[in-house]
């Protein structure tokens, strides 16, 4: 007598619980992120900002009818049927000089008023946003790529290579970040720099991009190096080494996908840090150079108008706050989504 009669009548070839199709790591992380409403709101806000800034030429052309880079000291606009000069005689203080027009709060020219050169602040805000977003994105890309490369090489190959790279990163990081940024900016902004065949002129946007990208490399490289050091000892990497796989293949197939996770978590944070760094450098006049604008330079422009037309300094600051806030919230959401230790939801 076999024990088969004692077993419950179950179909053994069917799964006991309803099964969900197995999803990969990235797919399930994306789903987790999509379900996080705060992170999705932040992503939406960021998308809105990016789109608005990309449409800057359209705004300047159709809505404000001004050239945001040309002075408009003698211009006039029509307000309520009357012609109003863009630069009005000052009433504050001694009554000398001119004050730009304040915000009209109407969809049209000078929505947010004019600056000292009579330029439309709202249009400049959008153009400035393009540069700010561009600089922080490219700087973040450079930073992450360099940090990944140095951290991975140092962590994987160890020994003398690791010692040299770690020492370099330590010296770079021991230099207070802002000081390094300011020093490099001041020296390079005035003359530009020639690296081999590449000649970067003095007013180029590439300078702040490279500088801001460079200064945060140690900040990201250290955790990457730590992670690669741990990965080096993990079983699957040891197995690959034991199987005689070439180093490049191990790096690409085993190490890099894991490092990607760290980099993706760092990305929104670095975007936020780089945006604030660029604003600070531009505020100090050593970031973006005229005639280009960025949110930092507009705050600098608004410095002289701070007490008479505060909107010129306030608006770019608010733009920065909203963007950086959205990036921070998104960063929190991304980190939670990629964390394998977060709660598993069972339907």
């Amino acid at each position: 007598m076999s024990g088969a009669e004692l077993l419950p009548a179950v179909a053994w070839d069917e799964p006991a619980l309803p099964q969900e199709p197995a999803r990969g790591y990235w797919a399930s992380a994306c789903r987790k992120l999509a379900r996080d409403r705060t992170a999705m709101t932040a992503l939406g806000v960021l998308a809105l900002i990016v789109v608005a800034c990309l449409l800057a030429p359209l705004y300047a052309d159709r809505v404000s009818h001004t050239d945001p880079f040309a002075s408009n000291l003698n211009g006039t606009i029509t307000l309520g049927g009357q012609d109003v000069a863009v630069m009005q005689p000052s009433t504050a203080g001694l009554g000398l000089g001119v004050t730009p027009i304040g915000p009209t709060w109407r969809w049209g020219p000078y929505l947010l008023g004019a600056d000292t050169q009579g330029r439309d602040v709202a249009a400049r805000l959008l153009y400035g946003g393009r540069n700010s977003l561009l600089i922080s994105s490219l700087a973040t890309l450079i930073c992450l790529v360099l940090a990944a490369a140095t951290g991975t090489i140092a962590g994987f190959f160890g020994g003398a290579v690791d010692r040299v790279i770690s020492w370099l990163l330590d010296v770079l990081w021991a230099f207070p970040v802002f000081l390094l940024a300011i020093s490099l900016s001041i020296v390079l902004i005035s003359h530009g720099i020639t690296i081999g065949p590449i000649d970067i002129s003095a007013g180029s946007l590439a300078l702040p991009i490279l500088i801001i990208g460079l200064i945060y490399v140690p900040y990201v490289a250290r955790p990457v190096r730590g992670q690669v050091l741990a990965l080096r000892r993990s079983e699957f990497v040891l197995a690959s080494i034991g199987l005689g796989m070439p180093d490049t293949r191990i790096l690409l197939r085993d190490v890099l996908p894991n490092v990607m996770t760290t980099l993706i978590v760092f990305a929104p944070l670095m975007l936020a840090l780089d945006m604030v760094a660029e604003a600070a450098l531009s505020f100090l006049s050593i970031g973006v150079q005229p005639p280009d604008a960025s949110w930092g330079t507009i705050i600098q422009d608004g410095d002289t108008l701070l007490y008479t037309r505060p909107i010129v300094a306030a608006a770019p600051g608010i733009a920065i706050v909203i963007t950086v806030l959205a990036l921070n919230v998104l960063g929190d959401g991304v980190r939670d989504a990629l964390d394998p230790r977060s709660k598993v939801r069972v339907r």
């Binding site: 020492w167 330590d170 010296v171 770079l172 021991a174 230099f175 207070p176 802002f178 000081l179 300011i182 020093s183 490099l184 001041i186 020296v187 390079l188 005035s190 003359h191 530009g192 720099i193 020639t194 936020a272 604030v276 604003a279 600070a280 505020f283 100090l284 705050i299 410095d303 701070l306 007490y307 505060p310 300094a313 306030a314 600051g317 920065i320 706050v321 950086v324 806030l325 921070n328 919230v329």
Partner: protein
């Protein structure tokens, strides 16, 4: 530690003296200087010597004899100027630090005590906003409100004009001058540290010894402040040490620029702008000494606070 300082001094020297296209003599002589003037300037400032010799001379004059003089303000000794600016920065950073430590403790503890409620969410959002505001913009907005818009109201009529007043000359005036810069500096760090503290407090709450304390019948307040806080303070103190070191060394330069305080940060920035190389070297070395010192102190402190690190 000495190696790192050496590395930093070399790096600074290279950035300012050896960057291609950057000619210190041309900057000192001014624009459109004739070649003879350039040569004269080079000779008198010793810029025609080989780079390692220049470096060694500068280090000797800075550290050993202390008679390094500025390129821009001829004859003005660099080291005493830095020493004069130091109390301003120290006033700013100490006051700001008191504010931000107190503020972040309150926010972190409150958020952890009421975690996952509206209070917690609200405080974390406020902290996040604080972190997201560029410090120089916060300073400008505060200036706008306290110096101009609401200056005539009872709220802010006590705010004196921008600029530093020495502590010993008039303590009350000093306090009134520094209060707004302190708030401006603290906002960013309160946000940052509040979030860090809340996260580590919540993590500490998962530990077994907290469960034991709760089982013993201790009040939540007691548990939070006496037990959980101790563990969280480790991370808090290490972060604080590092940030404090950076700020004392001149990291508050944006705040100093906005509020017109002649501290080390403002001195550094002015020196960088006028490319006053000896002053730059002095201020950067001053700053780096504090940063490296802070790193070392924090490492030692870590061993003191956390017994697990000590036990090998």
């Amino acid at each position: 530690m000495v190696f790192v300082l050496f590395g930093i001094s070399v790096l600074v020297f290279l950035i300012f003296f050896a960057t291609p296209g950057a000619d210190p003599a041309a900057r000192i002589a001014g624009r459109n200087a004739s070649p003879e003037t350039l040569e004269q300037v080079r000779a008198s400032f010793g810029l025609d010597r080989p780079l390692p010799v220049q470096y060694a001379l500068m280090m000797q004059r800075l550290f050993i004899t202390g008679e390094l003089t500025s390129f821009v303000n001829r004859g003005e000794r660099v080291v005493p100027e830095v020493m004069e600016a130091a109390p301003v920065t120290l006033s700013l950073v100490f006051g700001g630090a008191v504010l931000w430590v107190a503020g972040s403790l309150v926010i972190g503890l409150t958020a952890a005590a009421f975690r996952n409620t509206v209070v917690d969410r609200g405080l974390m959002i406020l902290s996040l906003i604080g972190v997201s505001m560029p410090v120089f913009w916060v300073g400008e907005m505060l200036n706008l409100v306290t110096q101009n818009r609401l200056h005539d109201t009872v709220l802010f009529s006590w705010v004196p004009a921008l600029g530093y007043k020495p502590l010993l000359a008039d303590p009350w005036d000093w306090f009134k001058t520094m209060l707004v810069p302190w708030v401006s500096l603290a906002i960013l760090y309160i946000g940052l540290y509040g979030r860090v503290l809340r996260a580590s407090l919540v993590e500490a709450e998962q530990e077994d010894y907290i469960r034991t304390a709760r089982a013993k019948g201790l009040s939540e307040f007691h548990i939070l402040t006496r037990h959980a806080l101790r563990m969280s303070l480790i991370g808090f103190v290490t972060l604080f040490g590092l940030d404090f070191g950076v700020l004392v060394g001149g990291g508050a330069l944006l705040t100093e620029v906005v509020f017109g305080l002649q501290g080390v940060g403002k001195l550094t920035f002015d020196a960088l702008h006028t490319l006053d190389l000896p002053m730059i070297m002095a201020t950067v070395m001053y700053s780096s000494v504090f940063v490296v010192l802070a790193n070392t102190v924090v490492d030692l402190l870590y061993a003191v606070i956390d017994p697990r690190v000590r036990a090998r």
